[in-house]
């Protein structure tokens, strides 16, 4: 009902735009969220769904299809008819880290057509507040001695690759053996592990760390964006002379199956430009520490592939590829 109302309002406001496109969309669009309710992707997807539904003019049906680090939902979208009525929310974990790391993943980047990336989450590295590690230099020195561990939300997650990538960039040799990776069950558990002393540090979206940092429970050491992140009293990667770490950011986007027609992709590009301008959407996403930056289909494709290639190089160089 609610969506139908939005649809009606949308059709009025954007009547001209929809009239011009005549055919697509003529019925509701299925939107697959490949991660669980309450996660970063889910919140992001459901927040954009509100303004996006108005612009699209047809209801968006949001469905969480979870499992295997986003693979289950991604496969469902890959196998759907490329008619634009089944779209997928893509995320750094499922569409750049996992494809770079896992050899037996049932999909590759080429199985999708990316129509936008609309949200960037800066990454930050942090340790427990009572730790005697106060800077990246301290952390790296400690890592060289051994006995340093980092937590992640699972193998093949952004947190997993991020921890290794940061250690590698700061010149820790053989980071896979020098630093212990402790995979936890989800991002919340990963932060808790650092809080409880199970792991030494973690690198994850600043949004996942924001409340811990402002509560004085975790101490940020570095953020990966070129601009400092509000609330994080920590240098940027570029300040520390590692601008290559700027590739290490989280993002959320939308994709369809690979044979998605050009006009449908173009339509989504327009819709996203209009929807992401919604003030409420922007303020909500900024409240959780995200940067709203809508990319066109071409830009999104370049962005995802550049990040994938950076990750793939690292994975190949260090032998992190998961073959089984």
């Amino acid at each position: 009902m609610k969506f139908a109302k939005f649809g009606a309002v949308g059709a009025l406001v954007f009547g001209l735009a929809t009239a011009a496109a005549a055919e697509y969309p003529e019925r509701p669009v299925n939107m697959i969220i490949p991660f669980g309710a309450g996660g970063a992707t889910d919140i992001s997807a459901r927040t954009i769904a509100e303004p996006l539904g108005k612009v699209v003019g047809k209801p968006l049906i949001m469905a969480n299809v979870t499992g295997a680090g986003g693979a289950t939902g991604s496969v469902a979208a890959m196998n759907a008819k490329p008619d634009g009525y089944t779209m997928l929310f893509t995320r750094v974990g499922s569409h750049s880290v996992n494809p770079a790391m896992k050899a037996t993943l049932p999909y590759t980047l080429d199985d999708f057509r990316y129509v936008t990336v609309y949200e960037i989450n800066p990454f930050a590295c942090a340790v427990a507040a009572d730790s005697d590690i106060n800077s990246m230099d301290d952390l790296v020195a400690r890592a060289r001695e051994g006995g340093v561990s980092f937590s992640s939300s699972g193998v093949g997650s952004g947190l997993h690759l991020g921890g290794v990538m940061v250690m590698d960039a700061f010149g820790v040799e053989d980071p896979l053996n020098q630093v212990t990776h402790i995979p936890m069950d989800g991002g919340g558990a990963a932060a808790t592990a650092v809080l409880a002393g199970t792991a030494t540090f973690l690198c994850t979206n600043s949004s996942a760390l924001a409340s811990f940092v402002s509560n004085g429970q975790l101490k940020p050491l570095m953020v990966t964006t070129s601009e400092p992140v509000v609330g994080f009293d920590a240098p940027t990667a570029a300040d520390l002379g590692k601008p290559e770490l700027e590739q290490l950011v989280g993002w959320t986007g939308i994709a369809g199956p690979k044979d998605l027609p050009d006009e449908v992709a173009a339509k989504w590009g327009e819709w996203m430009q209009a929807a992401a301008g919604d003030e409420e959407f922007v303020s909500r996403m900024e409240a959780v520490g995200s940067i709203i930056d809508v990319m066109s289909p071409e830009e999104a494709n370049d962005f995802i592939r550049t990040q994938y290639n950076t990750f793939k190089d690292l994975v190949d160089r260090l032998g992190m590829r998961i073959e089984g």
């Binding site: 299809v65 289950t72 561990s149 809080l195 998961i322 089984g324």
Partner: protein
């Protein structure tokens, strides 16, 4: 700000119609959603979340908390009436609730579930208000080694729910452990037992397994042999619980509530293990031990007290540490963030009025739960009156729809039917399903925490004995195992001493 000032400030936040209306609506939505098989409390909270974006912070959070509490309670209704836990947390309620319904005591079982739930809810909320700080710092002492020993101890529950034959219980548990290994390996990220099917990469869906194991076999036995069921309705039996029964179960309810509070305050365990642990403790201590699993009202009380005891306590790590204890609180934390609030120690300083407002709301929610719960029971218990020939096809439809809705995946419906056959074979051979379920829930936790502990220590097993918490659980485990062995020996002896037996 003094304590009274804080309460006054809190009251000014919740002391309006909107906040109480949100809470009431939340409990109502939750109870209904929880009562629909497959529509778990988690899903209900997730679906409500987007509607709270436009609301004020306090009503928004109270709405979600109401849905959560209602959902955990509502799950007991189908568990008792149609042997299908509405939410995983009420799986333990099936063990005695359904036999009671079979005996025509559905009304009594539901009534006891409600009383136990509300008592536990109140105890849980009070614990949150009084001991949040203390329990939260205790919870942070739980690393993988402590979890491992706690879960190892919890696995001894299997002996308590195995029924007559420990061997059959162990067999059932092994099967559960085996199926729980399907999916991605935690440490290496490799595929395990997926046979190249992407649908299996995420593991077997818990709800699909649950419904397949409990509800499907009932439907199948009726299809197999419809004669004894023809035109048969069970009737409601005695309507309500007597005060005497409540008094008799009171110790069990309080014990279950504290087990729930304790497990709920530790992030990452959840309500289902709490319900099972409470159930097995109640059985161990009860004078009616032999009647457990055959329709003992105390069993229903124990299970419902255990899972509702968790509901308030999961807010302890959420509010005091900013850490979500389970999937539901992870969603609720999202609601906090959307409203620009950051749960954690600072919130007790910066947003003290909000914290106290939530506390007041929570206390009120226990009473709302009681009121709405009584209404729901009054309506739903007539389900027990429906002849099975009419009821079971409806159950089947609900199950299929519910399992599909969990993950919008038709594969899960297939899993449910396969598990239904497994459950049916188990039922025909008197192999209890509960050990399977416990192993299926606890197995991955046991394995993951063991391997995380080994990663932490560089493969040295010493870490599993690293502190008083681990010693405590090792001690409990040894004690319980010794008791099980002794009981086993005694049973064998008494069998031998009987002439003609053995």
């Amino acid at each position: 700000m003094s304590f009274l000032d804080s309460i006054a400030a809190g009251l000014s936040l919740v002391g309006n119609f909107e906040a109480f209306a949100a809470l009431f609506v939340g409990v109502l939505i939750g109870t209904i959603a929880g009562a629909i098989p497959g529509m778990s409390a988690t899903m209900a909270v997730a679906l409500t979340l987007p509607f709270t974006f436009a609301m004020e912070a306090v009503p928004a959070i109270l709405l979600l908390l109401g849905v959560y509490k209602g959902g955990i309670f509502g799950g007991c209704i189908p568990a008792i009436l149609i042997k299908t836990p509405g939410t995983p947390a009420s799986s333990a309620t099936v063990l005695d609730g359904y036999p009671m319904a079979e005996k025509g005591q559905a009304g009594k079982a539901l009534g006891m579930a409600l009383w136990a739930s509300c008592t536990a809810d109140l105890i849980s909320n009070l614990s949150l208000i009084l001991f949040a700080g203390w329990l939260a710092s205790f919870a942070l002492n739980f690393g993988p080694p402590e979890f491992f020993t706690l879960i190892l101890f919890s696995l001894t529950i299997i002996a308590g729910v195995s029924g007559n034959s420990l061997l059959k219980g162990a067999l059932s548990a092994m099967l559960g452990l085996l199926l729980a290994t399907v999916g991605l390996d935690l440490v290496y990220g490799t595929n395990r037992l997926t046979f190249g099917d992407p649908n299996l990469m995420g593991g077997l869906n818990f709800i699909a397994v649950l419904i397949g194991l409990f509800a499907m076999p009932e439907v199948m036995s009726m299809v197999w042999d419809p004669k004894p069921h023809e035109g048969k309705a069970r009737g409601l039996g005695s309507d309500s619980v007597t005060f005497g029964e409540y008094k008799r179960c009171f110790r069990t309810i309080v014990r279950g509530s504290f087990i729930g509070v304790f497990l709920g305050s530790i992030p990452g365990i959840g309500a289902a293990p709490a319900a099972f642990l409470s159930y097995s403790e109640a059985r161990r201590k009860s004078p009616n031990k032999a009647n457990f699993g055959k329709g003992e009202v105390e069993g229903v009380a124990a299970s419902e007290a255990g899972n509702n005891g968790v509901a308030g306590a999961t807010l302890i790590p959420l509010l005091a540490l900013g850490v979500p204890g389970d999937v539901i609180t992870a969603i609720i934390i999202g609601a906090f963030m959307i409203h620009g609030l950051q749960p954690g120690p600072m919130m007790f300083v910066l947003n003290k009025d909000l914290i106290y407002g939530l506390f007041i709301g929570l206390i009120v929610s226990s009473f709302f739960l009681f009121f709405i719960g009584s209404l729901a029971i009054r309506l739903f218990k007539y389900v027990a009156d429906i002849p099975r020939g009419v009821l079971f096809p409806g159950v089947l439809v609900l199950c299929i729809y519910g399992v599909f809705a969990v993950n919008n995946n038709i594969f899960d419906v297939g899993v449910m039917f396969v598990m239904g056959w497994v459950g049916y074979v188990m039922l025909r051979n008197d192999i209890p399903a509960a050990p399977f379920l416990i192993a299926f829930i606890l197995g991955p936790l046991l394995e993951n925490n063991f391997r995380q502990a080994m990663l932490m220590s560089g493969n040295s097993p010493e870490i599993l004995f690293r502190g008083p918490i681990t010693w405590f659980f090792w001690f409990l485990t040894l004690l319980t195992v010794a008791a099980i062995i002794r009981a086993g020996i005694r049973a064998t002896r008494s069998m031998r001493s009987k002439p003609g037996a053995g």
